[in-house]
Structures are given as structure tokens and as C-alpha cells.
Amino acid sequence: MTRIPSWIWPIVAAALVFIASRVVTNEYYVFAGYVVLQYVVLASAWNILGGYSGYVNFGSAAFFAIGAYGTVVLDKLWQPPLVLSIFLAGVVASLVGLVTAYLTLRLRGVFFAIATLALAIVLQTLVMNWDYVGGPLGYYCMRPSSIIGFPSYVHYLFVVMLVLALVAVLVARAIKLSFIGHGLAAIRDNELAAECCGVPTLRLKVFATMISGALMGMAGAPFPYYITYLDPNSAFSLAYGINSIAMPLIGGMTHWIGPVIGAVLLALIQQVATVTISSELNMMIVGGLLISFITLAPNGIVGLFEQYRQRKHQCAGR
């Protein structure tokens, strides 16, 4: 029997999720599912740089907001189809990633982390002062009329995000298995040694930042239509920053499936907690889980699973 290639599974999963979205009658599940998928994109995108190469990006919210506000600008100009907004968001976000990465990644990784953190704050300042997109007052984004073939516009957004999630996961997987992934892993383990062995470290890091930023920007592009009212505080919410770090860390950063596991798990917990308890407390849960996982299970759920398998393997070998 030939081995089934692992890229099949995300596609199968996506197909099943799509069918499920058509079967459920309560549209709230589709509405909530969108957020989960959005986090799958963000976590997978973060992991391309953060997990594979070990460079921490605190500014996921900045890239996400670039996508969201990009859509707002386009919406005010001439309301292009959503797919085009997503594409342009990806381009702009990757350019921002390029500049930030090029200026800071030549130095120690810490500087990159701090710069991304500051990037989010500064972009928020810019948007706050930009009256065209509503400034601090925010912007009401009218959903276009329903798209043919979809029960509602939320369903359409859900499918768009599903496709984005699939793309993000497949890209993350492809990078992991290619020479880029190996190069990034070498950087994570010992950057100096990698450099000496001829790994083009700076180029790989900048590339990873661009891809990662582009995916985050693309995840943000449909957001204004989803939420219908966008203000700087929701677009730059620190929740994106902490979630896109916590999810890969909890799922496991060294495997492409880790961020997906972490995202689905954490996003579901948060959806339930927001409805049943309070939204402040659910951030507390994320923070607590993050701290406990990095101290107790540094390789996340995937790491725990591998540990278990190895132990079973050893027992069987005896």
C-alpha cells in the first residue's frame, strides 16, 4: 500500500468543514467558526517565522490590521471584489514585513521582537490620526448583497476564510518540508553555525517574515465585512498578538499541524468562555495556558504526543 501524502488531510478536513457549514441550521456556528478559522490562518502564519526560525513576532495585530484597514480604504474607493482586497492586503502586509525585517533582523532576534511590538502601537497611532478611515471613531462597513450560491454573506466569508486557512496550512507545510524550512530550522538551532555552512540566513528570515506577514494581512482583509464596524481598538486588539503566539506554542511549534491544533483548541475555548463567562477572563485563560505550556510542555501538544509515541516505541522494542 502506498503511503497517503500528508497534504491530503488538510484538504479533506476543509471539505468536511465546508459540508458541516452547509448542514448546520444555526448560523451562529458559522459566525463563530469564522473566528476559529481566522486564528488557524494567524497561528500558521506566525509559526512560519516564529516556530520554524525562532524569531518572535509580537506584531501580528499590526499585520492583521493592515489587511483590515486596506479593505476599508478599498471599500471607500470603489468596493472591489473581496478576493482583490485580500490579494492587495497580502502585498502591502508583506512589504511592511520586508522593511521591518530588513531593518531589524540583522541584529539579535530580541530587537526584531521589540520592533514588531512597537510596530503595532505606531500603526495604531497612524490609523487613529487618519480621518479618511474614520480615525478613533471607526468605520461602518456595509456588507455587499448576498453572493450567488451562498445562503448568506456570512457563509461566503466563512468559505473565504476556510480557503485562506487551507492555503495557510499548505504553505506552512510546504515551507517546513522544503530547503527553506530546513534552513530556518538551522537558524533556530544555531544561527552562527548555519551562516558558516552557507545558509543564506538573512534572506531566509526576510522571506519568512514576508510570507508570514502576507498571510496575516490576508486574514485581516475580510474582517471589516465580518464585524461590519471596525475601530482601531478591535483591529489592533492585543488578543491577536497573544493568540497567534499562544496557539502555536500550545499546539507545538516544530510541526506544521501544531498551530492548527492550538488554534482550534484555544479559539474554541475562547468562543465558549466569551459566551459563558466574560471576555476579560478568557484572555486570562490564554495567558495562563501560555505560561503553563512554555514552562511545563515546551514542545506543545505535538511534543507531548511524540514523547508518548517514543516511550511506547521503546517499550515495544524491549
Binding site: A113, I121, M128, I242, I245, M283, M284, G287, G288, I291
Partner: protein, 290 residues
């Protein structure tokens, strides 16, 4: 029309603000510059310090600046405990930086949400005799609520500078910052030295927090505004140099107030990011860097 008088006022206010920024940053200078611990939760510790001052002021009626002097030893112990945990969990196993960073990010969140749950999103302020009045000279008005924190901050950084250059423990900390391995070969318990230093760093947050709540009302998420600022100052000053931190803080304070005067207060946060990127691009070792 921006007159000379207005600009002069902005510079003076900038100096006062910059002096306060020095007190805010000095904890990062110690933790990040000297000990190589990227404590991005430092600003939120400062907010915690502000809330300690707020509680003591409201419940006991003590002066906020007096209350933080009481709070500092408590924060020192908190710092010592956090270092103990951090060291055992991350440094010993040798995979510090990334996980350590995420760890402090988690701490930042937990503290901020705890404050949010305890105090709500309202701005809190303290009441003292020196918050209202100004002292005026010929053309400039100096609000006392800025002057007092400035004087206090200068006292704090001067004290720390003397501590690091004159006392035995301070010099030991500087030695750890320079070459920890060499020091460990001389039978010095470097972990304890670093632990003390981290305690001192967190203790400064208590004091800076007291100054902060005198200068402006405080809410739990205020710390975020300071994250970019403190690291920009720390990097600009040259990582681990206290005189450098003071110079960089004054520069940033002046540039920020001039920016606010010319373009409006909402642009001020962008200054620190520009300063950070410029420093990293032009002179990554900072003003007083080696």
C-alpha cells in the same frame, strides 16, 4: 503660529518628561541591558506600582511617593521570585530567549487582566497637594506634578548609578553584565547576583509607578504605550548604561513634546518607534554603547 516661547516651553516640559522616562526605563536597562532578560512585562509592573500607590493613597491617605518607597521592597521580592522561576524554567535548560520572551508576554497579560478585573477600565488618580499648582518663572510655567517626579527620577537614577559604581554588590552586578562566565570561574554565585539585580529592576518599577500616577491618571492598559518607548530609550541609550539611558530618555522626552506641540498629542507615540528604528538602522550600539 509656533512662537519661540511655545517651543521653549515644549523643551522644558520635554526635559521634565524625559527625566521621568529615565526612571521608567532604568528597570529595563538593568534587566535587558545588563542581565539579558527581555522583560517586556516591565511597563505593566509600573502600572501595578501605580495601583499600589493608588490603594495606599486612598485607603491610608499616604502620599503616593511615600507609598512607593514602602512598595519597593515588596516589588523587590516579587522580582526575586520571578527570577527564581524564570531561571529554573528557562535559563538552566539553555533555551532562554524565545520561551523567556513568550513567558513575559504571558505575565504581561495575566497582570493586566488581573488589574482590569480588580479595578475596571476607569482611570484612577491620586490626590496630593502638589498635583494642582504650577511654579512659574518669567516665561515658563512648570506644573509641580511634573517637577516632583522629575526630581524624584533624577534622585533614583543617581542613586542607582552610585549603587552600580560604588557598592560591592553593584559592582558585582556590573561584572556579571560584562562577563558572567569569567565571574563564575572566580567562584562567584552569579545566579544570586543576577537575582538581586532583577529584584532591583522590578523595585524601580514600583517607584516609577508612583511617579506615573502623580503625572497622569492611570488605567490598566496604559502600560502598552510604554513598551515601545522604554525599549526605544534603552536601545538608544546603549543597553545597560545608566548615563546613556538618562541622555536617551531626555532626548526622547524633548522630541515627543515638540512633536505634540507641532502636530498634536496623538502623534507622540510614533516618535519612539521612529527613534528605535533609526537607532537600529544607524547605530545599533546606541549612544553610550561599547
Amino acid at each position: 503660529m509656533v512662537t519661540f516661547n511655545l517651543l521653549f516651553n515644549a523643551v522644558v516640559t520635554g526635559v521634565l518628561l524625559g527625566g521621568f522616562y529615565a526612571a521608567v526605563t532604568v528597570g529595563i536597562t538593568i534587566a535587558f541591558g545588563m542581565l539579558d532578560i527581555v522583560n517586556i512585562a516591565h511597563p505593566v509592573f509600573i502600572i501595578m506600582g501605580s495601583f499600589v500607590a493608588y490603594i495606599v493613597n486612598r485607603k491610608l491617605g499616604l502620599d503616593p511617593l511615600l507609598s512607593v518607597i514602602l512598595g519597593a521592597p515588596l516589588f523587590f521580592l516579587v522580582g526575586v521570585a520571578i527570577f527564581q522561576f524564570y531561571h529554573a524554567a528557562f535559563e538552566k535548560s539553555g533555551k532562554g530567549s524565545l520561551r523567556g520572551l513568550a513567558f513575559f508576554f504571558g505575565i504581561l497579560f495575566v497582570i493586566e487582566v488581573t488589574l482590569l478585573l480588580a479595578f475596571g477600565v476607569d482611570y484612577r488618580l491620586v490626590q496630593t497637594s502638589y498635583i494642582g499648582p504650577n511654579i512659574g518663572f518669567e516665561h515658563i510655567d512648570l506644573p509641580l506634578r511634573m517637577v516632583i517626579p522629575f526630581v524624584g527620577s533624577m534622585a533614583l537614577v543617581t542613586g542607582l548609578h552610585l549603587f552600580f559604581s560604588r557598592t560591592f554588590i553593584g559592582r558585582a552586578i556590573m561584572a556579571v553584565a560584562q562577563d558572567e562566565f569569567a565571574l563564575s570561574l572566580m567562584a562567584v554565585d552569579t545566579v544570586t547576583v543576577r537575582q538581586l539585580a532583577f529584584g532591583v529592576a522590578i523595585a524601580t518599577a514600583a517607584i516609577a509607578g508612583g511617579f506615573l500616577i502623580v503625572i497622569q491618571p492611570v488605567d490598566p492598559s496604559l502600560g502598552r504605550e510604554y513598551i515601545g518607548r522604554v525599549f526605544a530609550i534603552c536601545v538608544l541609550g546603549g543597553l545597560g548604561s545608566i548615563p546613556g539611558t538618562v541622555i536617551a530618555a531626555l532626548i526622547l522626552g524633548i522630541v515627543e513634546t515638540i512633536t505634540s506641540t507641532l502636530f498634536g498629542a496623538s502623534w507622540a507615540p510614533a516618535v519612539s518607534f521612529a527613534a528605535l528604528l533609526l537607532t537600529l538602522a544607524i547605530r545599533p550600539s546606541g549612544i553610550m554603547g561599547r
